[in-house]
Every structure is written in structure tokens, then in C-alpha cells.
Symmetry: C2
Amino acid sequence: MAASVQVLAFDIFGTVVDWHGSIQREVQALYPAVDGDAFARAWRAGYKPAMARVMSGELGWTLIDDLHRMILDQILPDFGLDHLGEAERRHLNRVWHRLDAWPDSVQGLTRLKRRYTICTLSNGNIGLLTHMAKRAGLPWDCVLSAEVFRAYKPAPETYLGVARVFDLAPAQVMLVAAHHDDLAGARACGLRTAYIERPLEFGAGHPKDVAPRQGNDLHCSSIGQLADVLGC
Amino acid sequence: MAASVQVLAFDIFGTVVDWHGSIQREVQALYPAVDGDAFARAWRAGYKPAMARVMSGELGWTLIDDLHRMILDQILPDFGLDHLGEAERRHLNRVWHRLDAWPDSVQGLTRLKRRYTICTLSNGNIGLLTHMAKRAGLPWDCVLSAEVFRAYKPAPETYLGVARVFDLAPAQVMLVAAHHDDLAGARACGLRTAYIERPLEFGAGHPKDVAPRQGNDLHCSSIGQLADVLGC
């Protein structure tokens, strides 16, 4: 199986970077009275509904930076932050460009890059992913995004788009993700799949069930273990 | 000027990599009876007319890999190579993924990357540019291509597309290229421009006029000199 795979495409938010911890830390540093844990989860909770509005056609094509801002403006009053001005809102919204990697990500990706082409496949926009990679040291060969395919995961255009970009069969591409719905979308398109356990994606107070489920080719505790399993 | 620029977008063929020398060397190694210099120039000569057929609508959207293959099939008989089979043609066509960098490119880009976001802005497709970067060690922060914008340079969508991806004003992006028509297209869209001298782009037998022309913000002998001038 591993011999035929040439490209590893990585989900980003939660899989490679710790959105919850990064946002919690930054929000609590900026606004000590705010519950950073609840704030991070509230912001993220608006993400799928916002993308669904784009994919249904209710909203025209909208980048994640702009969806994040729409959600931010909605939740600020709930956290007593409706007094924030435009510059503060813009700065806070860019926290998604400043997310920290999980501790195993950089080293694991660096090992995998020796043998595979490694790329992002994220609903995040290209600018966001590029700034994040530059800051966190993520050594992508290529930044692919919903922005390239003008469709959000789990739309088939995104998974099949990676195969098309590299002129490969779907089974020569493996999606690496910490989310079963993303992996199921990829599997339905014929991609290989690897699940990564990120039990603390939603914070220490909200542990996630990371038990193995049927269907994925690989199930790993970290990106480092994925590199072990793939012999990198 | 340099203080406001945040992104350096690089033309690739001729500016960062030596297409002529790379193709000449590979063709002469594979087919010693063929004039590699003439072969490389004939292949490249079909490039702009092929893109013009795409942009005029005569051809639907077509990736450079496919345009290169169309031109290759056309020129093979002229060089006594019409007997090549499908596998050999496929392999030869991928020489564009295997182009060698100019000697100053990797070190110059590595220096520039410390201070700027560095990306490709090439008519080459994403897969081609990614394979090339991986093989040649080009340390892009992000691979942008005509494929992302579905338009070939010098169409304005490509230059303005870079600014949009990074949420910047056009004047915060600088195009770096060895071709005046490309730089003129960028300048017309409000980008900053840097010309790089590549006198041997078409081979030692066909030196190119690299004298300074009016209009560009910078004129450099190499990417290394660009890094010097920008203080990286």
C-alpha cells in the first residue's frame, strides 16, 4: 500500500496545528477576563455552519479568513468584547495564521518529506496556510487549499483535485487527518487514509474519542508515528 | 520601497531555473545524435503560441504539462525522433519537472525567505513546480501558478491574484523575472518589479540582451544580488 502512495495530503486545523490551545492562550493573554477555552470552542463551532452556507450557495465563494471574521463578529458580544474596534478585530482574526503546531508535527513532516510529496489540503485559505507554515516551520512541498479548488472539504473536488494536480490516481494520494468525516470523504473518492489521534483537539476539558474505527488504512498516535509506520 | 513589499513572486522558467541547459543536457544524453541546443529552443518556441491559443479560447483551459506534450509531439519529427513511443514521450515531457536551478537561486531564495514571503508565479502547473522545487531544493513558502488563477501571464488576474491571496495591495508584491513582458504586465497592475539578468537563458550560442530598461524598480545580475540589494 505505502509503496504506491506518492503524495501525503494533510488536514491542518486540529491535525497539524493546535487551534484550541493557540487561540485559548492568545485570547487569555489579550483579554484576561475572557474564558479562552470557551471562546476558542465557540469560534470553531461556527466554522462548519459557515462553510455549509457557502457550499449551499446561500453565500458566494468566501475565504476562511472572511468566514472566521463573520463568526468572530457574532461571538464577541457573548464574551463581553463587543467594544473591540476594527484594528483589534482584524488582529484577533489573524490568530488563525498564528496557530502553533502540535509538538510532533515539524519533525514528523520533515521525515515524511524525504520520501513523499507533502502538501496541505485544508479549508483554510492559501495566505493563511502560508503564513502559518512560515511561522511554525511546517516544511510543505506545496500549499493546496479549498481556495484552489473553490470547494470546501468534504466535497469530492478537493480530494480528487489533489490527485489531478499531481497527475496521479486517487489511490496514490493519502489524506492524513484527525477527523473521521474528512477521511470518509477522501475514502469515498478512492484516496488512502491515515487517522491521527489528537485527543486534546478541543482542550484538556473536552477529551475527544480517538478509538480506532474501521475503514482507514492507518491509525497513528502522531505524525511521528506515521513516519515510523511508513518507514521514513 | 522595499519596506512596503511583503511578497516576492518569482517567474520560474529562465529566471530561477535554466530550462535551456537542462533540456539540452538531458536530450543529448538520451539521444546523442540530436542537437540539444536546437531542440530546447524549438520546444520553448512553441510555448507562447500554445498559451495564446488557450487564452484566446481556441483551446479550453490546458495545463502547461499538456501544452508541452502537444509541442513535443509536433517537433519530434523535425529531430528524427518520431519513432519515440508513449512511455519515452511521457518521460521526456517530464524534463520540465527536472530543470536545474541557476547556481545562485537556492542560496539567494533562502536569504530572501528570511525577510519576505517567497512564492512562484509561473505559467507552469502546480505539480510541475512542486516536483521541480523538491528536486532542485527551491525553498518556496507557497507554490502559485496560472493553474490557481486559470489564466496565463501576462493576464492581470495572475499578478492581482497574488496580491489577493495574501490580502495585500499590489504595490506590496514584487514580481522578480528575467523577461520584460512579464514585468510590464505586473507593473501595469501596480506591482513592484525586479529584473534579473540571465544572459545565457537561450544558451551560450544565443546571448540575450540584458541591458537595463526603464520602468523596473530593481535591476540585478542574480537572485543573490537581489538579496544583497534588499538587505537580506
